[in-house]
């Protein structure tokens, strides 16, 4: 059924977006970044649209379903994801308010298991020009990219075919942020390349 396919796509997107939003919300607070907080706001609106869309689709699908009550779980699922995204928005809203957050908040973010980092890719980095599927950052470096900032545009959840360019800012989560900083040649502008592992 067409509706179910669409519902699935929406749910996938909602799950991806809600976890992305939580990551971005925490990172907006950590970096006191209004940019990222604004993006969370935009994503929140997108999430609202998706929620409504899923609900409408579920109602339409009910006509054809043998057991329409099962569709209730879909609506519930959409609601829960929306709830998560609302909370993410409330977190990033801390940055958008004029009140300066308590210093303890930023201190905390440095101590959690997973580190969120913003890493600039400089000239000479071996990351440049390689598609993500080739770099295998999660396996080789221990970070996953939640977004790439290119100029003033964000690429959320970059796909495997996305290629890293010079000047990109990588927003990454994981335990290998320091390693990523080395690979992106964040410190040196030139030369000193780090050999790529096989």
């Amino acid at each position: 059924m067409k509706e179910l396919e669409e519902i699935k796509d929406c749910l996938i997107e909602m799950k991806n977006l809600s976890s992305l939003m939580v990551d971005l919300a925490f990172s907006s607070v950590m970096y006191d970044s209004e940019d990222i907080a604004d993006e969370v706001y935009i994503l929140e609106e997108k999430m609202d649209e998706l929620t409504l869309k899923v609900k409408k689709l579920a109602l339409r699908a009910a006509k054809y379903e043998e057991d329409p009550e099962k569709l209730l779980s879909i609506i519930e699922m959409a609601n829960i994801n929306e709830q998560i995204s609302d909370s993410a928005y409330e977190i990033s809203d801390l940055v958008l308010r004029d009140v300066e957050p308590h210093p303890v908040i930023r201190k905390i973010m440095h101590d959690v298991d997973e580190e969120i980092g913003r890493v600039k890719v400089n000239k000479g980095s071996i990351l440049i020009g390689n598609p993500l599927k080739q770099l295998k950052l999660p396996t080789k470096v221990g970070v996953r990219l939640i977004a790439i900032k290119r100029g003033c545009r964000y690429i959320y959840n970059p796909s495997k075919d996305e290629t890293i360019e010079e000047g990109d800012i990588l927003i990454a989560v994981g335990s290998g942020i320091d390693r990523l900083r080395e690979l992106s040649n964040e410190k040196g502008e030139e030369g000193e390349l780090i050999k790529e592992e096989e």
């Binding site: 699935k8 991806n16 977190i91 101590d111 396996t139 959840n157």
Partner: protein, 205 residues
């Protein structure tokens, strides 16, 4: 469960409380999706236990925060701590609601599990065979998150569940690891667990 009760009498610092809350909420969301994916009530119960603990942590945090303000400026700053804590708790409630879908036996539409399996980060059961190089090593040795990109959320050993295993957790044959990661990284770890790939990451493990 036992260690939760102990906590009540030993409040920690605001920072420690916060870190625990953030780590717990992430674990809860992962476990909640896992419980839905596998229709597993035991995992769902664990999510609810964690939710209770979260309430307690939030309560302690609020008490601390209220005591910490010495002047209006600090009080204003502290509202940010409270807001963040409340938002984290809201997320944990959402995770609890997900788990309740499993426990209350709401008939789940198959499209839900399909969506969870096709999202970017997947959750998978990874069974460790006797021949795998993982056997006998601790999670601290293996550094699976950096070396394979898979986070171990929980482990099932026989009938027992171990949630959020720490660095000293030693993998035994037949352990079932519940891992979160991208499709490729999870498949990679599965091969290691089956004993097909004999190295973890770039170096010999």
């Amino acid at each position: 469960m036992e260690e939760f009760e102990e906590f009540e009498y030993q409040p920690k610092s605001v920072k420690e409380l916060f870190i625990e809350m953030k780590n717990i909420v992430e674990l809860m969301v992962d476990l909640a999706y896992t419980s839905i994916l596998f229709g597993d009530k035991e995992i769902a119960e664990e999510v609810l236990d964690l939710e209770e603990r979260m309430d307690l942590l939030n309560y302690h945090l609020m008490t601390h925060a209220v005591l910490a303000a010495r002047n209006p400026k600090e009080a204003e700053q502290i509202t940010s701590v409270l807001q963040m804590a409340n938002s984290i708790e809201d997320i944990s409630n959402a995770a609890g609601d997900l788990a309740k879908m499993v426990l209350e036996g709401i008939a789940l539409h198959p499209v839900i599990t399909e969506a969870i399996m096709e999202s970017e980060e997947v959750i998978a059961k990874i069974t460790v065979t006797q021949d795998s190089i993982l056997v006998g090593k601790t999670l601290g040795d293996l550094k699976l998150a950096s070396n394979t990109g898979v986070w171990i959320i929980a482990v099932k050993r026989g009938k027992r569940w171990i949630f959020a295993p720490d660095k000293n957790f030693k993998i035994k044959p037949d352990d079932v690891l519940i891992g979160r990661g991208t499709h490729t990284s999870v498949e990679h770890l599965k091969e290691i667990a089956r004993g097909i790939i004999r190295v973890v990451g770039d170096e010999r493990a």
